[in-house]
């Protein structure tokens, strides 16, 4: 496999030895490079996903989607971003101004933070902590706070109802999300994202035990609810709450929520692809060495993107197919079905690891 850490080591030695910069300056330049890379990837993926969502939605509803701006409307998203950037930033008179302006920061921190955990290729992962998965869930729950503060700070009755719904739904589904990740940690024996991918060298995780594919499906459902997307989008149910927690946000304030929603979709798909489908690890079948060698020839980043966008496509398909659930149905689904199911799956996985 092609190892991206060769490139990063080369840049490091270039800064330290060839250009002879000190410790401080080389680390500073590396950090700035990392930041630029994250922002570029973040913006590009948001643009691709928003365009993809519009086209997929149009496809499912037998429409054409955006067609006017550029060929097949490919510049529609750029036009939208430009429009949002030149709108006025405006808060309601009676809003809690501090919470109102802090909330987008929290949402973006959660989404950029979780985005940095994705392993793009061997050696190409920004945050590769040894407590990776644990920290990932911790950072993703900051996003709940952002949604709640946005709705509460707006001083709009619809937004407060939406904030309550969003918070109760996201904290509930976080639990089965965590249990899915724990069942993966039980199988791989490490919380490090890189280690989880390496542990799938022989076979992807969903092929390793007879029950892990169930955990994968639960992860998709819980992840969809965690990203606040339909059929679990009752926090921003436009037919009953206008737009939910971001009703009172104008211009880029709304833009951040829009951005974070799509990036959360990508992060959920990326984590599902990494933890259960092997991330950048090619498809390996035990015993077929020739086949494995051919699969190794395809670069890891292509494997990662193909898997992630396949899951993104499935989640978009679900969003545009199913009607919205009610709040009691959502909570019933989580507490009476998914969570007991995940406890059973976790026990079975442990039995498999301990005894087989």
């Amino acid at each position: 496999m092609y190892d991206f850490s060769i490139v990063t080591r080369w840049i490091d030695s270039l800064l330290r030895h060839t250009l002879n910069l000190g410790d401080f300056w080389s680390i500073l330049i590396e950090c700035i490079l990392v930041g630029i890379c994250i922002l570029t990837a973040y913006a590009l993926i948001a643009i691709v996903l928003i365009f993809m969502e519009r086209k997929v939605c149009a496809y499912f509803q037998c429409r054409l989607g955006p067609m006017r701006v550029g060929p097949w409307g490919i510049f529609q998203v750029f036009a939208d971003v430009l429009k949002m950037l030149i709108k006025e930033i405006f808060a309601v008179d009676k809003a809690d101004k501090m919470l109102y302006y802090i909330a987008p920061f929290l949402v973006i921190i959660a989404s950029v933070g979780t985005f940095s955990f994705l392993p793009w290729n061997k050696g190409a992962v920004v945050l590769d902590f040894n407590v990776g998965v644990f920290l990932l869930t911790a950072i993703s729950s900051i996003g709940i706070l952002g949604v709640f503060l946005a709705g509460w700070g707006s001083n709009n009755k619809y937004s407060v109802v939406s904030a309550m719904r969003g918070a109760v739904q996201m904290i509930s589904y976080e639990m089965s999300l965590c249990l899915c990740l724990i069942s993966a940690v039980v199988l791989t024996g490490t919380m490090q994202i890189g280690g989880i991918v390496e542990a799938q060298h022989g076979a992807w995780l969903i092929f390793q035990t007879p029950v892990t594919w169930l955990a994968f499906l639960v992860f998709l459902v819980a992840g969809n609810a965690e990203a606040n997307r339909g059929p679990f989008d009752l926090a921003e149910a436009e037919s009953e709450l206008t737009a939910g927690y971001h009703t009172e946000y104008s211009g880029m304030g709304f833009g951040f929520y829009y951005l974070a929603e799509y990036l959360n979709l990508f992060v959920i798909s990326g984590i599902a692809a990494t933890v259960f489908l092997g991330g950048w690890m090619p498809l390996h079948v035990a015993g077929l060495d020739g086949f494995n060698a051919v699969m190794d020839f395809i670069p890891g980043i292509i494997w990662f993107f193909v898997k992630t966008f396949a899951i993104v496509w499935i989640l978009m398909w679900i969003r545009w197919t199913f009607p919205r659930l009610r709040i009691d149905q959502i909570l019933k689904l989580e507490w009476k079905y998914l969570m007991p199911l995940m406890l059973v799956i976790l026990t079975l996985t442990t039995v498999w690891v301990a005894l087989v």
């Binding site: 709108k87 006025e88 109760v168």
Partner: protein, 116 residues
């Protein structure tokens, strides 16, 4: 090095938000009138504050979440060592899970999982 990268990621996120806000402040239009400062609710004037007491069900699920989320936090360190300890890990977590499942069953029986 990990800590530096983590701080870098956080600063990147903050820079993204601040930059977009600054651009919008610089090139966006500015106007004010009292109607614009009203919250958007159906078009009729708003009555009172929105910070009202909410349905108690939300708080009930928040308390349940606290309980079971602490459970998942305790499960993480255990999950890492299952492979090394084998069946011993299964027995030791068995007690923990049984107590929790009993707790969930109790909450279910008492109707705490119903939305009323």
């Amino acid at each position: 090095m990990y800590f530096t990268l983590f701080i870098t990621v956080l600063i990147t996120a903050v820079v993204l938000v601040v930059a977009a806000y600054v651009i919008a402040k610089l090139i966006g239009p500015r106007s004010y009138n009292p109607v614009k400062g009203e919250p958007f609710e159906c078009g009729i004037p708003t009555h009172g504050s929105s910070w009202l007491p909410m349905h108690v069900g939300y708080y009930l699920f928040a308390i349940l979440f606290l309980m079971f989320d602490i459970e998942t936090v305790f499960l993480y360190p255990w999950a890492v060592v299952v492979k090394q300890f084998g069946s011993l890990a299964l027995i030791s977590i068995g007690f923990f899970l049984v107590v929790l499942v009993l707790g969930l069953a109790y909450a279910w029986r008492k109707g705490a999982l119903e939305w009323k």
